[in-house]
Symmetry: C2
Subunit: 243 residues, 2 copies
């Protein structure tokens, strides 16, 4: 579909332990879709330097954009920035612009070790502004380093997304049916073969009260008129079967 | 921490498009923690055969357990079972036991192409029973293949989890503080060095109404008494700072 692709690297023990429910994937995915960037892979890894370096180097080689979330705070378990520096073989140092921002923000307070840590990043990195809590994220080549706290990440991503290359938005239409997925499988296969530029997905749900399933058929693509044509034909075909 | 580790491979365009919010990671993570299995990595990939094979082969080599979710239904976009067969270089064929289960379930209906597809898996795979919608998952060596629909996945995982090797449960305690993360960073570093068998994490939240943050300090480990000792000392130390 889209030639512009992206991946997310979620750095966070809290997701892997189940303590925190991730909501960043969906947020980023939706925003990327809107500007025609296809999210093609997500990895969730622990706050471990060797893991961060290895995974980041794999992803940044394979995808146009890589977004990392988590691990850029002031505490000992925040090791994303130093790890990114190592992945890029760049010096990990105080960024002057970030230093000025934090100095101004904490005007009556000491720029202690923890706060100072949030100004450190790979040499040559450029800032991603943080309107809420000031401590910035950064980007270097195709890697965008963001915080894990959703409300802060979202604000930063919203301004960042405007700076990315965009292509035709990825749009989707859906049909809900009470037919069995197995009953409509053959029909969907036929339409997938006919409409190769679209992606036809079939997503069953299960209603525990009714003890019955239903299926959401989703057609995705970048060409609106093809999409509308496909959805119309599929709708008719499903009605013939019994929907 | 735990020597028993695991990874999850989420196979699903619907997660990558942002259409669906994943809730399977957290469910599996929590259940694994309880029996001392550490979830160490998660990957979300599209329903593409080459991606499934590549990622599955990497994960199954690196982790004691691999759980896949999604892509085992009857439609054209469900390609997990055939891809797993290829990853293991096993024949993809009708499993007799699965066939009998579905034949019995659809007693008055035809076992059409879609339904028949749900009985196909790698030769030698063993079934994971599905009490809700009958079509089973399967496991082969250290790879457990589950559906993506959360309610069905959960029921299947609940019975499956009893069959896994277990070790000491991974337990955690937490302290909530209104202090800045940057203010407590140094103290937490000190305790992390003192309690090497525990993992001390620091997770900021941001309250948009109050325009203020607070921090959740989480101490994780498998030794309960060490954990209690650590949490007691950290609590005292944070009180001294001002909590």
């Amino acid at each position: 579909m889209s030639k512009l692709n992206a991946s997310i690297l979620i750095i966070g023990n809290e997701i892997l332990s189940g303590r925190t429910q991730d909501i960043n994937i969906q947020y980023i995915a939706k925003k990327l879709n809107k500007i025609g960037i296809q999210l093609s892979e997500v990895r969730v890894i622990p706050d471990k330097e060797n893991k961060i370096i290895k995974n980041l180097n794999e992803l940044r080689k394979n995808y146009r954009y890589v977004f990392t979330t988590g691990g850029i705070g002031p505490t000992h378990d925040d090791i994303t920035s130093i790890s990114v520096s190592k992945a890029f073989k760049r010096k990990y140092e105080i960024n002057n612009e970030a230093y000025k921002l934090l100095k101004k923000y904490y005007i009556n307070k000491k720029l202690n070790q923890g706060r100072l840590k949030m100004t450190k990043m790979p040499r040559g990195a450029k800032l991603i502004k943080n309107p809420l809590t000031i401590a910035p994220g950064f980007y270097i080549n195709n890697v965008y380093v963001l915080p894990g706290v959703p409300i802060i990440m979202q604000k930063m991503f919203d301004s960042l997304v405007k700076t990315l290359n965009s292509s035709k938005p990825i749009i989707s239409r859906n049909i809900n049916t009470n037919l069995y997925e197995s009953t409509i499988a053959k029909t969907l296969t036929k339409f997938q073969k006919k409409y190769k530029s679209c992606e036809i997905g079939s997503y069953p749900h299960f209603d525990t009260k009714k003890k019955a399933g239903n299926v959401n058929v989703v057609i995705t693509g970048t060409n609106k008129s093809t999409l509308e044509k496909a959805i119309k034909e599929i709708r008719i075909a499903l009605k013939k079967i019994g929907n």
